[in-house]
Structures are given as C-alpha cells and as structure tokens.
C-alpha cells in the first residue's frame, strides 16, 4: 500500500477503474435564471487531485451536490465512480467542513468512523462485528486518532474531529473523495496534517480527490489541476495555467493580480475571494 503512485495505478485500472473517477460532459446547472456553470467538461482520473476554487455562490458546493446525486444537472451528463450520481455513493467518501459537534451527543470517535463504513446500510449491524471493528481500528490508526477514539466526539478539538472525518471518509475504501472546505477553521499544523492524509490516500490507493476550497495555498503542492468557477465562467488547468493574472482577470472580468511570494500564491483584486461568510453544507436542501 506504500508503493509510489505510478506503479500502483496500472494494477488498479481494472474493471472498477476503467472509467474515469468523475466524468462531467456538457454539464450545466442553473437555479431559475441564474446560471451557476454551463458546458462544463471535466474528466478526473483516478489518483488525481483537483482543487475547486471560486468565490461564494459560484457553485462549488453545488458541484459536490451534483456528484453526490443530491442535485440534478440542468443539462449534460455526469458519472461518478462508474455509476450515475447517487447510485454509487458507497464508492464516494465525503469530508465536510469542520464544525462544532454537539458536546452532549452520545458518540465516540470510533462510532463516527464506523458510520463511514456501513452507516448507510439497513439493520442494526450485528453481523461481522469483529471484521468491522478491525477495519475501523485500522482507519483510526491511519489518521493517528487511536488514542482518542473512545472519547466523546463533541469534546475533541477541531483538528482531532477533522482527522476523524478523514478516517470516516476513507474507511469505506472510496474511489472518489469529495471534500467541502475541510481545512476551514483549522490551524496551520492541522491543515497540513489533514491535507497530507488526503494526499497519501490518493497516492497509495488511486482515489480521485475533488477539494473545494477558497484558499489554494495549503494544498498547492498537492494540486494536479484547478477548476476555477466565477459567475458562470470557469477555467480548468494546472495551477501554473490557471493561477495567473491574465486568466483570473478574464474570469473575474476585472483586474486581478496574481503574485507568487515564496511558495504561496497571493491573489489581489478578486472580489469576494476571502473568508467564507456563509459556509454551505451539502445537506442543505
């Protein structure tokens, strides 16, 4: 499981992976008169790390909702992990943004991760308890959460909760990992830890990653391609292609300056590029 990406991927390119991890063809989404995006073509290969950037309301979270089958496209087609969206959700891992869990809720870290394995299945779950326990324990260990796995989740720090979220998303062995601002409100050390865990997963298991964020710098070294959405316009390419003054100025239709300072990208002049004032949740219906 620790072999480099190049040697692992061909072995994984079997039946399940013969298709791209995510395929959007001529995809459009509009709410009434408002076009979020249109004619979007995107093919995500297994193991690829795609950062989805753009201002608030540009349809980043809606894109994830489409891939999860919670929101139908207005036009075009979409396939996720070889299935229609919604049908293949057990092949998808989902990491929401960190938010405070109710401290009083009777739930341990171990239970939160277990939900990611079989929480969507009917019944009580009495069969194969031993195998299940081992799978959950392995997922907890992989994110270094073993020592607080039995604590109530509501009393853990934001960084600890987000590690559990990564384990929860990965325990089901997903082909596609959808992340909605998973680093929001984490400190730098935890941002680094969480993004490294996600990176390791896609390198060792060939899981494709769609990473919605308003801030590319914490994941910049990991990003293969950027999907940048602004007001119905979009651009897809490597960070070097997209994160330029020319491209972003064209997208925003105003003067935007992209400056590289050491290994960081600073964008000046892009309206509403800053903090997410209204964090969106995928569950909003």
């Amino acid at each position: 499981m620790t072999a480099p990406k190049a040697s692992v991927l061909p072995a994984l390119t079997g039946d399940a992976r013969s298709e791209p991890a995510v395929l959007l063809a001529g995809a459009g989404l509009r709410y009434g008169q408002r076009v979020l995006w249109d004619a979007l073509d995107l093919t995500v290969r297994p193991g690829e790390f795609i950062a989805v950037l753009g201002p608030n309301g540009s349809g980043k979270t809606s894109l994830l909702r489409v891939l999860l089958g919670l929101q139908p496209l207005t036009s075009g087609t979409v396939r996720v992990a070889g299935s229609a969206p919604g049908a293949g959700n057990r092949h998808i891992g989902y990491i929401p943004q960190q938010r405070v869990l109710d401290p009083a809720v009777a739930l341990r870290g171990r239970d939160l991760v277990g939900f990611g394995l079989d929480g969507h299945r009917w019944g009580i779950g009495l069969r194969d308890r031993r195998a299940r326990r081992q799978t959950v324990a392995a997922a907890l260990q992989a994110v270094g959460a073993t020592h607080y796995a039995d604590n109530p989740v509501g009393r853990l720090s934001g960084g600890e909760q987000q590690r559990l979220r990564v384990a929860q998303a990965l325990v089901g062995d997903p082909d596609v990992l959808l992340c909605d601002e998973p680093l929001l409100s984490l400190d730098l050390a935890h941002q680094r830890a969480v993004s490294d865990l996600i990176d390791e997963r896609r390198r060792t298991a060939g899981t494709a990653v769609l990473f919605v964020t308003h801030e590319i710098n914490p994941v910049l070294p990991l990003v293969d391609r950027v999907l940048y959405l602004v007001d119905g316009r979009f651009m897809i390419g490597t960070p070097a292609e997209v994160m330029t003054s020319e491209t972003l100025s064209a997208l925003y239709r105003t003067r935007v300056d992209v400056v590289r300072v050491r290994d960081q990208i600073v964008v000046v002049g892009a309206a509403d590029r800053g903090d997410c004032e209204h964090p969106h949740h995928v569950s909003g219906t």
């Binding site: 999860l68 089958g69 919670l70 919604g86 959700n89 057990r90 998808i92 989902y94 929401p96 009083a104 809720v105 009777a106 739930l107 341990r108 239970d111 939160l112 939900f115 990611g116 079989d118 929480g119 969507h120 299945r121 009917w122 019944g123 009580i124 779950g125 039995d150 604590n151 109530p152 989740v153 009393r155 979220r165 929860q168 959808l178 949740h281 995928v282 569950s283 219906t285």
Partner: protein, 283 residues
C-alpha cells in the same frame, strides 16, 4: 393503611392477576421507551414527544366519548400527529412554534371532548395520569403487538437512523434518506407515546420517553451502552413506580417520574464529575 408503604400488602398484591398484567405492560413499555429514548434525545424531539402525548390524550378522550377502546383512540391520534410533526423539517426555524400551536389546539379539543363525556370520571383522570392497573387483556394485547411492530421497524432502520440523527450532513451525502426516516421514526415515537398515555398518562409520558435517554447520554458516549442503560433506567422507573404505588391510593405516575428524575440527577452528577478533571487537564 397506617403507613405510606406496607411491605406485606405489596407482596400480597403482587400475586394478583391485574397487578401482574400491569407489571407486564410496564415492562413492555419500559423496553420500547428505553430503546427509543436515546434517539429521541439525539434528534432533539423532546417537545414533539410532549405534543404527541397531549394529542394522544385528546384521541383517547374522543374514544371515550365514542365508546371505543381508549387505546385505539390514543394510537390513531398519535400516529396522525406524528406524521404531521415528522413532515416538519428538523431545521425549520418554525418547527417549535408549529408544535406549540398544534399542541395547544389539540389539548383544547381534548378538554372539550372530556367535558362532554358523562361516564366514569376515573376514566378521565386516568388519561392524564395513567391507570396501568386498569390495563385489561385486550389493551395488553394491543400494547404487546404495537411494541413488537415498533421494535421490528426500528431494528430495520436503526443504523441509518442513528447516522442521520447525529451526523446528518455526511449521512445525507452517503445516500441516507433522512427525510422519510424522520417521518417513520416520528410514527414509531407516536405509537410508543400512545402506549405510554394508557399507562403513565399523557402528562408524564416524557419521564419514560425522554428522561432515561437523557440520563444515559450523560454517563456514556458508547451508543450500545447508552441504549442498555436507558432501558434499565426506564424499567426501574416504571416497575419500581408500579410496585411502590400498589399499597397507596396515589396513581403510578408520581412514583415513576420521581424515580426517573432521581436517576437523571445521579447520572448528571456522575457525568459532570467525569468531565471536569479531563477539561482541567486540557486547558
């Protein structure tokens, strides 16, 4: 009766058929309420349980007036209101006020129906505070049958229901049908509440449907242990309440609620004592 509690008399009463029926009914109700309670607490449904109980009371009053079994009246009204409450979105800001509106109106209708009833007044009182020693074999059959249905349906939806109850956003992303699970669970709670109305009465059904779950959640984060504790707490409250009330003329409910409340206070104290040192270390 010289003392409040006469031990010999209680033992004597325990051998009576109607007391054994009451204990059996109490045990069944304690099991169902105990299993449901942690989920009710996790889903913040205390107020809607309260409303369901009051509406079940009105249904029982209607049944009295019509001359049919109180149990069926309570059950019918509780299921209807449970569906209505289940259809209200969990995140709807209006949810609590809508429940309050329905509760007030439903209770008003119940009082009107009761005032029109000219039969035995103990029947009226029983709806409010319970008359478990009056459970006959027919209502026992209804109680056991409904309880089995509730537990079987709950077992089928238990895993996704718990997932959606404590981690809704990810559950929905994983394809859990939260919207209709909410309705199904509300109906299960409605049925259980209607059963509780017959035994501990509509005013006090919360001491069985909510308090055991709230108490268990204070002392453990382990979901299985929380459910087991909740059932034990509910059984202790209902069975203890029945036994203690036997040699007195006091209804069952004050005993049930008192035991339930004491258990809750103890669990709160234990939970707080456990958390405080841990927090001190972390800060």
């Amino acid at each position: 009766m010289g003392t409040l509690f006469d031990f010999n008399q209680a033992v004597q009463l325990l051998s009576r058929g109607f007391v054994q029926t009451a204990l059996l009914a109490g045990a069944v109700l304690g099991l169902v309420a105990g299993v449901l309670a942690p989920l009710i607490v996790a889903r913040n449904m205390a107020f809607s349980v309260h409303a369901t109980a009051e509406i079940a009371f009105s249904g029982g009053a209607a049944a009295l007036l019509l001359g049919i079994s109180v149990g069926y009246g309570a059950l019918g009204a509780a299921v209807i209101i449970a569906i209505v409450l289940g259809l209200l979105s969990r995140r709807d800001t209006e949810r609590d006020s809508v429940i309050g509106v329905l509760l007030a109106f439903g209770l008003g209708v119940g009082v009107l129906l009761l005032s029109m009833y000219t039969g035995r007044s103990s029947n009226k009182f029983g709806l409010l505070v319970g008359q478990i020693v009056g459970v006959d074999s027919m209502s026992l059959a209804l109680l056991v049958g409904s309880s089995i249905v509730v537990l079987v349906v709950l077992a089928m939806i238990y895993r996704p229901l718990r997932f959606a109850s404590v981690d809704r956003e990810v559950a929905v992303a994983r394809g859990v049908p939260d919207a209709w699970l909410t309705v199904v669970f509300a109906v299960l709670v409605g049925v259980a509440t209607a059963l509780g109305v017959q035994t501990v009465g509509s005013l006090l059904v919360m001491s069985l449907m909510i308090t055991p779950g709230a108490a268990a959640n204070r002392v453990t984060a382990n979901p299985l242990l929380a459910t087991v504790l909740s059932v034990v707490f509910a059984e202790v409250a209902i069975l203890g309440g029945i036994v203690l009330s036997l040699p007195t003329s006091v209804p069952v409910s004050p005993f049930v609620t008192a035991i339930s409340f004491v258990i809750y206070l103890v669990c709160r104290a234990v939970g707080t004592a456990r958390v405080t040192p841990a927090l001190a270390v972390r800060t």
